[in-house]
Amino acid sequence: MNYESDVREPLILGNKTWHDVSVDISKPIEGKANKYWYVAFAISFLTASWGVGCICYTIGTGIGTWGLNKTVGWAWDITNFVWWIGIGHAGTLISAILLLFRQKWRMSINRSAEAMTIFAVICAALFPAIHMGRIWLAYFVFPLPNQFGSLWVNFNSPLLWDVFAISTYFTVSLVFWYMGLLPDFATVRDRAAVSMKPFRRKIYTILSFGWSGNARTWTRFEEMCLVLAGVSTPLVLSVHTIVSMDFATSVMPGWHTTIFPPYFVAGAIFSGFAMVLTLMLIARKTLNLEQYITVNHVESMNKIIILTGSIVGVAYLTELFMSWYSGVEYEQYAFINRATGPYWWAYFSMMTCNVVTPQLFWIKKLRRSFVATFIISIFVNIGMWFERFVIIVTSLHRDYLPSSWTMFHPTFVDMGIFIGTIGIFFTCFLVFCRIFPVIAMAELKAILKTSGSQYKKN
């Protein structure tokens, strides 16, 4: 058995037993949803439908329905793509990197953070697909023999690297998540058997793949989770590195920098943790998980926000310094234009939300306050969206040729699709909360004896 220092505060409050864990976590699946769930679901579903409508309009009419023009060929779509992919990164960080670092607090949040990863990557992958214009030709991104002779995809292109990175990331995260769910589905299945619910029992028997939890399977399961965490750790770092190379390998002033990979990865984890906090703070209230997701969990996540937020802040300043130090006037102009040009408000929002607000977490009171955390997490989400917008649009809208200078004005379709993806994300998450065990029960039971509040007392 593991022993844990008494100085550490308990991770699970309320003197829970193993059985209590099963009961509490299975409750949202077994019971009926309350009216808040229905209201939230209705709003998310309507927003998602509106987004799907806008997507259909785009596919039917073409991307001329968006506000793009010849100078600004990438705008909200790629901003949203990078934003969503970044949000996904926190889930893998929590489930893989924190597993390797043996951080036990991750166990209360990893399941829902991984679910968030999957839904965020789905939302992200939508954007490059519809930006192709002719989505029915999307299979061209794969190295398939095609009807025009053996013309292959270009493996030197970062956009193709992205295809491989995102598809690997999505499928590996999905598998990692589902494998972890097997023992918990089995718990729900056996509880349904005890309480005579044949239909639910049948469904969860299929979902659990017939998991029985014998000693040999557990050994293999633990080995597999460890190795999956091991391969997911460099994977998650590689994904946003490759996303940043979409920009960094081009010769656009403002994009062509070597700092992009670490800067994007830190930004991704920063925004991802903000989204995890936003979701968790809502989930712990509505699903009665206050004793599982405690103020200590929130504080740990806030510490990661300070770290990654500071890395992002340093990256902003480094960018400014490097543009000056490079002596390249285009590069210098790109950054002066960001701060003082027509998009100064976007740059200002980015700086305030990403650099200033997370620094408030140095104050212990704010770091341990749910209300402050919730507000700051939303600020960070907004700030990180603006960061991508600033990088993409302000670099493009002042072309080398002043006659091409222009502004980007989003149309209702641009906005509709962005808001629609938020709807899709929340719809998926709300359905997840009702069908899947939102906390990894088996993992939590394994640490209950060392980190539960009743064992800490003696």
Partner: protein
């Protein structure tokens, strides 16, 4: 020799682990243990060998890397060399830096999926599979030890005594159907 199976149920993982050690000392073979979470340190006691999944994962990863290199080398260098942006595809080694990201991604892809599939196959887990845990409570908060009497030399009474003494909460039993004897006609 009876073909009875004993199911000893425990309320705590440490008690079960201790009990398994006692049984081993007395020469009783434990068939299997079902638990709601992994019990660390149990495997050597009941004789579960170390898994080789990680080695498998390495082999899958190496396969993925080879596939990636073969695919990119063949497509870009041999089958249809292209001159893109003044950067022609001359040889595999010269193009290798541009191939690194996809090589890495495919290594991870094969390693992760190959291992997960192997796990599901060797653990016999797939949709439609019937769960094999003998008691519903083993996925909740109880720990179950299965002992097949026909595998053991000691009598049922002796084993029951050891189980009771080492803290089993309850002992259930199941008698397997008599196997039809194979008779030569």
């Amino acid at each position: 020799m009876s073909n009875k199976i004993l199911y000893a149920i425990y309320g705590d993982d440490e008690v079960l682990l201790n009990s398994a050690k006692q049984l081993r000392k007395n020469g009783v073979k434990v068939k299997d243990v079902f638990s709601p979470f992994p019990i660390h340190g149990l495997d050597p006691v009941i004789g579960v060998p170390r898994t080789r999944l990680a080695i498998g994962s390495f082999i899958y990863g190496a396969t993925g890397l080879s596939c990636a290199w073969l695919m990119m080398g063949w497509m870009m260098i041999y089958d249809w060399p292209m001159d893109i942006g003044g950067k022609p595809s001359f040889s595999f080694l010269e193009n290798l830096p541009a191939f690194i990201p996809i090589s890495f991604e495919m290594t991870v892809f094969f390693a992760a999926h190959g291992m997960a599939l192997s796990f599901l196959i060797i653990a016999r887990l797939f949709p439609g599979q019937k769960p094999k845990n003998p008691d519903f409570r083993t996925t909740d908060d109880k720990f179950l030890m299965q002992i097949n009497l026909e595998e053991n030399k000691r009598s049922e009474a002796e084993i029951r005594t050891i189980l009771k003494e080492t803290g089993a909460m309850e002992i259930n039993e199941k008698v397997l159907d008599e196997k039809p004897e194979f008779v030569l006609a």
